[in-house]
């Protein structure tokens, strides 16, 4: 009897295991399928022009064909144009969807990154099934599922100085949907050298910007921003946050601008007879849009000026002091003796080692989750609130004990330790922050 029950249990767990593996196989097949379909077997350069739209195309594009601004001429131009979208993230998602939907003949997509679950709130071209899949391939698959007439080429690599001039000259219009400073300068210089218009968008937190560079005598990115900002002043979406609809708005405007350039609307409309513009989108403000009038290209610009000093692509990572991704390099400003690993901190808790835990994240992050007993002062306020730290230590009867400092990823906490040490407070940094705590000590701890 007992044996029978045990056998039943084994059967049940085998059945569950079987179901689980079946689901896993399905998932992998789906991912593989996406990858296989993304390999374009025969790409003919340049894009072969068609003289006439097919009946299927006329039916599909009917609603925009009857627009006087588009018409059959505009639709054929879209069909015979190739566009390169660099970045398949928050901006690239709507760009790809609307360009693919509108009937652009060939779309190239460059992205080295893989879809992560934390992308999906804004990168609406990807799906839960695509988590772990390369973004260029995932986006390509979505475009094909909307418009199978569109030829899509996925480049699952980092765009850099070694490959940009192999890719960019093949396309008519380039869209900058990247997430980092180095790639923005690279794309700008490559588009100037290749003579391509660059429709550039950017978005962070609740704000966005849109400009078309290197077009109709207008400026390039370097005309406006000759030198890159210091790396420590640049915020990315992972640190600063971003509301999904913000890059959504800017990406849609980029798609619109690329379509206007393609069908010639940007040349003849009253807008284009005005100077080139920088559009600023303030999503949190009641004045959503402001348009800044720009000047024509700068004669002394280093790349598009009369006597350019940049005549080929340079090392953009070196130029910007930061890599071509929006992932942060871990900082290392402290010596080993000033840092402890998350496991060692856990041991301190077990051993009840006298200490105070100081959390230096922004309030909005602290509200999401925190370790018990932590004292909270955001890094930005720490210098001014050293007395608060000292008072808190005294009120907890911990004067002279160590302060352990934690943040999300273990960068700000190191800067905080420096500040505390400079003010005579003995402090240690918890390496890797709450991210490592959640990874290695407490799997139930929420991470964002």
């Amino acid at each position: 009897m007992r044996e029978g029950r045990a056998q039943f249990k084994v059967n049940m767990s085998l059945q569950e295991e079987n179901e689980r593996l079946k689901r896993r196989i399905e998932e992998l097949e789906r991912q593989n399928n996406i990858f296989e379909q993304s390999r374009s077997p025969e790409v003919v350069w340049p894009l072969p022009a068609v003289e006439q739209l097919s009946n299927a195309e006329i039916k599909r594009f009917g609603r925009q064909l009857i627009l006087p601004d588009v018409g059959i001429t505009g639709q054929k131009k879209l069909r015979n144009t190739s566009m390169l979208v660099v970045g398949a993230g928050g901006l690239g998602s709507p760009i790809c969807l609307y360009l693919g939907g509108a009937g652009v003949g060939r779309i190239g997509i460059v992205d080295h990154d893989e879809v992560d679950i934390s992308n999906l709130h804004r990168q609406v071209i990807h799906t839960e099934n695509g988590v772990g899949v390369n973004k260029a391939h995932s986006a390509a698959e979505s475009i094909r599922s909307i418009n199978s007439h569109c030829e899509v080429i996925a480049y699952d690599k980092v765009l850099d100085s070694s490959n940009a001039m192999d890719i960019i000259p093949n396309y008519d219009i380039v869209l900058d949907a990247t997430d980092n400073v180095a790639t923005r300068y690279l794309l700008n210089d490559a588009c100037v050298l290749a003579g391509k218009p660059l429709v550039s968008g950017s978005a962070l937190r609740m704000e966005g910007q849109l400009t078309t560079y290197n077009y109709n005598g207008g400026p390039c990115y370097r005309c406006l921003y000759p030198t890159p900002p210091p790396p420590e002043t640049v915020t990315n979406c992972a640190d600063g946050g971003v509301l999904g609809a913000i890059p959504g708005v800017i990406g849609c405007l980029q798609a619109l601008q690329a379509i206007k350039i393609c069908i010639g609307l940007a040349d003849t409309s009253f807008l284009a007879r005005d100077p080139p513009t920088l559009l600023i989108f303030s999503g949190a403000s009641s004045t959503l849009f402001r348009t800044i009038k720009l000047r024509k290209r700068k004669e002394d610009c280093a790349v598009c000026g009369e006597n350019p000093s940049i005549t080929e692509l340079i090392d953009y990572v070196q130029f910007c002091g930061r890599g071509a991704t929006d992932k942060d390099e871990p900082l290392k400003v402290l010596e080993e003796q000033d840092r402890i690993m998350v496991e060692a901190y856990q041991q301190c808790l077990t051993d009840k080692t006298p200490h105070m835990l100081l959390d230096v994240r922004e309030p909005v992050q602290y509200e999401i989750c925190q370790l018990p007993g932590s004292y909270h002062i955001p890094l930005k306020q720490l210098k001014k609130r050293i007395d608060d730290v000292k008072q808190e230590l005294e009120s907890r009867n911990l004067a002279g004990s160590d302060v352990y400092v934690i943040c999300r990823l273990g960068n700000d906490s190191q800067l905080a330790v420096r500040i505390l040490e400079e003010n005579g407070i003995s402090a240690k940094d918890i390496v890797g922050g709450l991210y490592e705590w959640a990874n290695r000590v407490d799997k139930e701890f929420p991470m964002y």
Binding site: D179, S202, L224, P229, V234, C237, V242, R290
Partner: protein, 91 residues
């Protein structure tokens, strides 16, 4: 009562990183004679942190781009609206 000079004001608009540092989307300031004076006033008020941002930002007066290198020669007048526009690189 404000005297006549102090009654002349400009409106400064802060975007992106400049907005983060000042904690403001705009503010009224007494009219400085040139754009260069404004840069100095803002550096005094908000420190090097803002200065670093401003050095790599665009200036626009009344929604028109102004060359940074001309800031000493760019006079300001009553009710001008000056926008400080740092580059945004996220996406």
């Amino acid at each position: 009562m404000l005297d006549s000079d102090n009654s002349k004001q400009i409106n400064v608009l802060y975007f992106a990183a400049a907005k983060e540092i000042t904690g403001l989307s705009s503010e009224e300031l007494d009219l400085p004679p040139t754009l260069k004076h404004l840069t100095e006033i803002l550096t005094c008020k908000y420190g090097d942190e803002l200065r670093k941002i401003v050095d790599h930002s665009l200036y626009a007066i009344n929604m028109e781009y102004i060359e940074k290198k001309d800031e000493a020669n760019t006079g300001l007048k009553d009710k001008d609206e000056i926008a400080i526009i740092p580059p945004v690189s996220g996406g």
